[in-house]
């Protein structure tokens, strides 16, 4: 069976060339069905009702948590359901780092970060008048790891991306965590781009905090994961109410629930959590190792094809090593928005702009770029078609 057959969107849009998986991936039928099943057959609230469909909802919801935990080799209680990676990062910044001077005195990050892993730290360091150390970009389009490693000693906390959503660079997170831990510095890993592509083993990494969004890994929108290592369970909640409270005593003192429920205030996104469970099943069945191998081949192929277009300038690393099939480029004399709109006329979906990472795009010498990001359903033919269309667009502007 062709992998595209598992994605119903291709039935409606057989000519769609979807190259925007870094923004959001398409959804496989199994994920869509799991959500529809919940709403059709057992759409009760979780952790409350004592009737059958409520029991079933709780079981499916908690079962999704267990499978997601297994997917990254975590314990289920270390898996907190949040809205998305952005909410997860902001939660860590507010509820763990900012309220503890040991961690909040200077933060280390990189210029490559998505705004979601940059702004919470900019705001935090401005509020408490500490310094944000930002590892710059090297001329080869990769992050300056020496800067990163040399400045661990100056900070209380580090927050870095696993993979750049602009250049596709894979950062050596195991090494970063190991070096930070030598100086007792906890690290947050933004795995929003990495989770759908690279095997994640939080135990092997000795990770502290890891965040990712469901919708970038073939799951639904509105659900993400905040992994918190057990050693940091003395985490204050941001929101109060709902299942995060066990009871409130006669003196109005709340008795908070245990982790992870303590951080899941209000009714959870139940269908979305079940959908994310189905998404990790989909990824596991396909095999993360196989995805990794395909990514490397496709990244190499697409990079060569893009480099064959003389007017096109790929920004970021030009070598195929340590990268995902995510490419940003500019074409002299043609604005990124025009390229994206013109590609759309041929059913090719790409992203144009600053990729919610304006400092990274600026560091690479551009205002706006076109980004092509490939997913599990993309093939060499998609890269060929893209380059053919790009050449036609260039011709129209000559």
């Amino acid at each position: 069976m062709n992998i595209k057959d598992k994605f119903p969107i291709y039935k409606d849009n057989p000519n769609l060339v979807y190259l925007d998986s870094a923004a959001t991936t398409l959804k496989p039928e199994s994920v869509i069905k799991s959500i529809t099943n919940y709403y059709t057959h057992y759409s009760a609230n979780v952790h409350r009702g004592l009737y059958s469909i409520a029991e079933q909802a709780t079981e499916e919801f908690e079962n999704a948590r267990v499978r997601i935990a297994y997917f990254i080799n975590a314990e289920p209680e270390e898996i907190v359901f949040v809205k998305n990676a952005t909410e997860a990062i902001n939660t860590v910044a507010k509820c763990f780092v900012e309220c503890n001077t040991r961690y909040s005195n200077n933060i280390l990050t990189t210029i490559l970060e998505h705004h979601s892993n940059l702004l919470p730290w900019i705001e935090l360091t401005r509020r408490n008048k500490s310094k944000l150390y930002t590892a710059p970009m090297l001329p080869n389009g990769r992050v300056d790891l020496h800067y990163l490693y040399n400045n661990i000693q100056n900070v209380g906390f580090a927050a870095v991306t696993m993979v750049s959503n602009v250049t596709g660079e894979i950062l050596p997170i195991a090494e970063i965590i190991a070096k930070a831990h030598k100086q007792n510095i906890p690290v947050l890993i933004d795995a929003a781009q990495g989770a759908a592509h690279l095997p994640l083993d939080v135990k092997k990494l000795d990770a502290d905090f890891v965040c990712f969004s469901g919708h970038k890994m073939y799951g639904p929108t509105g659900i993400g994961i905040l992994y918190i290592n057990k050693k940091f369970f003395d985490f204050s909640p941001l929101f109060y109410g709902g299942n995060m409270v066990k009871t409130v005593d006669a003196n109005l003192n709340p008795l908070l629930n245990d982790m992870p429920y303590k951080l899941e205030a209000g009714t959870s996104p139940i269908a979305e959590a079940i959908g994310l469970g189905a998404a990790v099943d989909f990824l596991s069945e396909y095999g993360m190792q196989k995805i990794n191998t395909n990514d490397a081949l496709l990244a190499n192929y697409a990079l060569n094809k893009l480099n064959d277009v003389p007017e096109l300038n790929v920004i970021g690393p030009l070598d195929p090593n340590n990268r995902l099939p995510i490419f940003s480029f500019t074409i002299k004399g043609i604005h990124a928005h025009d390229i994206a709109s013109l590609l759309n006329e041929s059913n090719v979906a790409v992203r144009a702009g600053h990729m919610c990472a304006a400092p990274a795009v600026r560091a690479l010498g551009a205002d706006a770029v076109v980004r092509v990001s490939l997913g599990i359903y993309n093939t060499e033919e998609d890269a060929d078609f893209l380059c053919k269309k790009l050449k036609q667009i260039i011709k129209r502007f000559k």
């Binding site: 604005h335 990124a336 928005h337 025009d338 709109s341 013109l342 759309n344 006329e345 144009a352 702009g353 600053h354 205002d367 706006a368 129209r396 502007f397």
Partner: protein, 122 residues
């Protein structure tokens, strides 16, 4: 949306792309999400636009839209300019269904023009 070749030609050779020295009123408008910029200048006499020009950089829709905005105000009375709508620019460019995400591109020039007018003491 469909990019007609005419639109691309307008982008490549806009008729109003020029800086006017000592303009009576001018304004620079930027779309911060993409870095597109349009600076619009005009000369006014007896409540009428006697010359208009723009400088800037941006996508086809931003540049062509700004050029069209300039065409629409030439030799017009200031009070008549205020009634120009975004839809007039879109219609003049022959565009349909431009979509939410490109709306700011097409209307960059008209925004610059309206902001410039605010600086003029009627």
């Amino acid at each position: 949306m469909f990019y007609r070749q005419k639109l691309i030609e307008l982008y490549k050779h806009p008729s109003n792309q020029k800086e006017i020295l000592n303009p009576d009123v001018s304004h620079t408008q930027e779309n911060v999400t993409c870095g597109d910029v349009a600076s619009i200048f005009f000369k006014i006499e007896n409540g009428m636009v006697i010359d208009v020009g723009f400088k800037g950089h941006g996508c086809v829709l931003a540049i062509a839209g700004t050029d069209i905005a300039c065409n629409l105000i030439k030799s017009k009375k200031l009070k008549d300019i205020q009634s120009i709508k975004n839809e007039d620019i879109i219609k003049e460019l022959g565009l349909e269904n431009i979509g939410y995400n490109r709306y700011d591109c097409v209307t960059l020039g008209l925004k610059a023009l309206n902001e410039a007018l605010k600086k003029w003491k009627f």
